[in-house]
């Protein structure tokens, strides 16, 4: 659990973070969004004390971060940055084993942990363990960055635009992997991103910042449905908000039982989003879809009317 109480950070006369209060529960993924320079990275870096806060209190598991020894604190918090910061003179395996080595784990345990993490992040040991960072693609390097952050099994993970420099396809697959990892590992994650779709897809709690302050926070759905002001509304996509909302609701949550009527030809997977269902309807000129499972067996149906109305009852 991370708690920031009335935290302020000044750089000289400039106030980068202004009396910010935020509580991130254990196992929660909290995404910070906002325009450039609004203090997202500063907030993140105050948590692991790469930057010392000027005023207020930051608590970690009920203890002030100031009470921790800096190095001990950072070794307990995973940290992932956009440019990865992998050590260019170390192999992938050595990079991943950095924090365990700092913590003086015995060598066999480090090796075991590195192998485990490489498997977890889809980096085959034989082909990657001895590579150097400059031999990796951007997506692979970022995976190594995430593996390095997870190495000592920290409860808390700070991620500053971790997938920012990647192409959309690689980014989406890494997002899916992160979601998958998170559903198994239940870390407490603070995640900074510029990509609103990424934030909406990953966040349990979405925090919108502006000029060092929090404008609004809540679940992605709550913010999409009731943005506090025009700034939040436009940041969340303006008129596209409806589609973004449809993109975080699964078909399975809204589908109707199979009716006796003839099953429509157009079909959509039950794990697809309402947005994808809408796209299929648009493409197939259909106002009813069959909902299918992995075996392509119909498990329900979804009408345009139902899809559109689903908003009201949520």
């Amino acid at each position: 659990m991370i708690e920031l109480i009335e935290v302020t950070k000044r750089f000289g006369s400039e106030t980068a973070v202004d009396r910010l209060s935020l509580r991130v529960e254990k196992g929660e993924l909290c995404a910070l969004v906002g325009t450039s320079g609004c203090g997202k990275s500063t907030t993140l870096r105050m948590i692991n004390r790469l930057i010392e806060h000027s005023e207020g209190e930051i608590h970690l598991e009920g203890r002030q971060v100031r009470e921790f020894d800096e190095q001990t604190l950072r070794r307990r918090i995973g940290y992932v940055i956009q440019s990865t910061g992998l050590f260019p003179h170390w192999t992938v395996a050595r990079n991943i084993g950095l924090v365990p080595r700092l913590l003086k784990w015995p060598a066999p345990r480090i090796r075991e942990r590195v192998e485990e993490l490489m498997a977890l992040l889809g980096l085959p040991l034989e082909s990657f363990a001895d590579k150097y960072p400059h031999q990796l693609s951007g997506g692979q390097a970022q995976r190594v960055g995430v593996a390095r952050a997870l190495a000592a099994d920290p409860d808390i993970l700070l991620m500053d635009e971790p997938f920012g420099a990647l192409d959309p396809i690689t980014r989406e697959s890494l997002q899916a992997e992160l979601r998958d990892l998170q559903s198994r590992l239940h870390k407490t994650i603070v995640f900074v991103t510029h990509d609103m779709d990424e934030a909406l897809a990953l966040a349990d709690r979405l925090v919108v910042m502006r000029a060092g302050r929090i404008v609004q926070q809540g679940t992605p759905l709550a913010l999409l449905r009731e943005p506090a002001d025009d700034f939040v509304a436009s940041l969340l996509g303006g008129d596209d908000r409806g589609l973004k909302e449809a993109a975080i609701i699964r078909v399975a949550e809204r589908m109707q039982p199979l009716s006796p009527r003839l099953l429509p030809r157009a079909r959509v997977h039950r794990d697809a989003t309402l947005r994808q269902a809408l796209a299929v309807m648009f493409r197939e000129h259909a106002d009813r879809l069959a909902v299918v499972d992995d075996e392509d067996m119909a498990v329900g149906e979804l009408s345009l009317r139902r899809l559109v109305e689903s908003r009201r009852e949520a």
């Binding site: 940055i81 990865t84 910061g85 260019p88 003179h89 395996a93 050595r94 090796r111 150097y132």
Partner: protein, 259 residues
């Protein structure tokens, strides 16, 4: 934690030795010439037929070479310790205020002519080897300080951010990340410093340090060009041998890690 790839044993050892071919060849030439200068007497006599003595007689060339190397080596060692040390100190948070001062002092060291340093050092340190070591030290400091600073400051800031963010201490970060990454640039600085000083060390002969400068000075004083040539040849070969050894070192460091 990972060892070298399998198969880097016997064949690898031989090829590693082969890579040192150039510096070893220069070294062989150098030693051969130093030991066998007397055999070249006919050559020098043909070059300078009117002189009675054509091979520098006052000392054995191998001894001169040894002394020369000793002076350059001691000066280089001191310059590396002082230069790298100073550059490291002023790039730490605590010493950052002294960064401009050190950069300036080092460049002053090189604008100050070694001859003047010698002249000033002799009254303090007396005749012999020490004045020339001091002069070489001052003269060789700049490339080392400048390159160490450049090497340390040229490291990708995100690497340092990660090092700090992962919980490395200052010393760990310096020894495991910063210095290894800066080594190629630092080596280049040491290489410049040492090669320049191999030539500059000849000046030592003017203040009584007998080294490969001695035949040169003596040749100039006595109008014996053959002596000058002998000293100059040996100094040139020494510089080539050392320079190509450094080149190998740099290459090896780069191929063993960062590409």
């Amino acid at each position: 934690m990972r060892r070298e790839p399998i198969g880097a044993g016997g064949a690898g050892g031989a090829s590693r030795l082969a890579a040192w071919r150039a510096p070893l060849a220069w070294l062989a030439c150098l030693l051969l010439l130093a030991a066998g200068m007397a055999w070249l007497e006919p050559l020098f006599r043909w070059f300078q037929p009117d002189t009675r003595q054509v091979i520098y007689p006052h000392a054995d060339f191998l001894t001169l070479l040894g002394r020369h190397l000793l002076v350059v080596g001691v000066a280089a060692l001191l310059a590396v310790v002082i230069g790298v040390g100073a550059a490291v100190l002023v790039t730490r948070p605590a010493g950052r205020d002294f960064l401009p001062l050190v950069a300036q002092a080092a460049s002053m060291g090189q604008t100050f002519p070694p001859v003047a340093v010698l002249a000033l050092a002799v009254p303090v340190l007396g005749f012999g080897t020490w004045p020339i070591i001091v002069a070489l030290l001052l003269y060789g400091l700049l490339p080392i300080v400048r390159n160490t600073l450049a090497g340390l400051q040229g490291i990708d800031p995100s690497v340092l951010e990660a090092a700090r963010g992962m919980g490395m201490g200052g010393v760990q970060q310096l020894l495991q990340v910063e210095l290894p990454l800066a080594v190629p640039v630092i080596l280049a600085g040491i290489r410049t410093s040492v090669t320049i000083n191999i030539a500059t060390a000849a000046l030592g002969a003017t203040v009584g340090a007998s080294n490969l400068g001695a035949p040169i000075i003596s040749g100039i004083v006595n109008g014996n060009t053959a002596y000058v040539l002998q000293g100059a040849l040996l100094i040139g070969l020494l510089a080539l041998a050392v320079d190509s050894a450094f080149e190998r070192l740099q290459r090896r460091w780069i191929s063993s890690g960062i590409g």
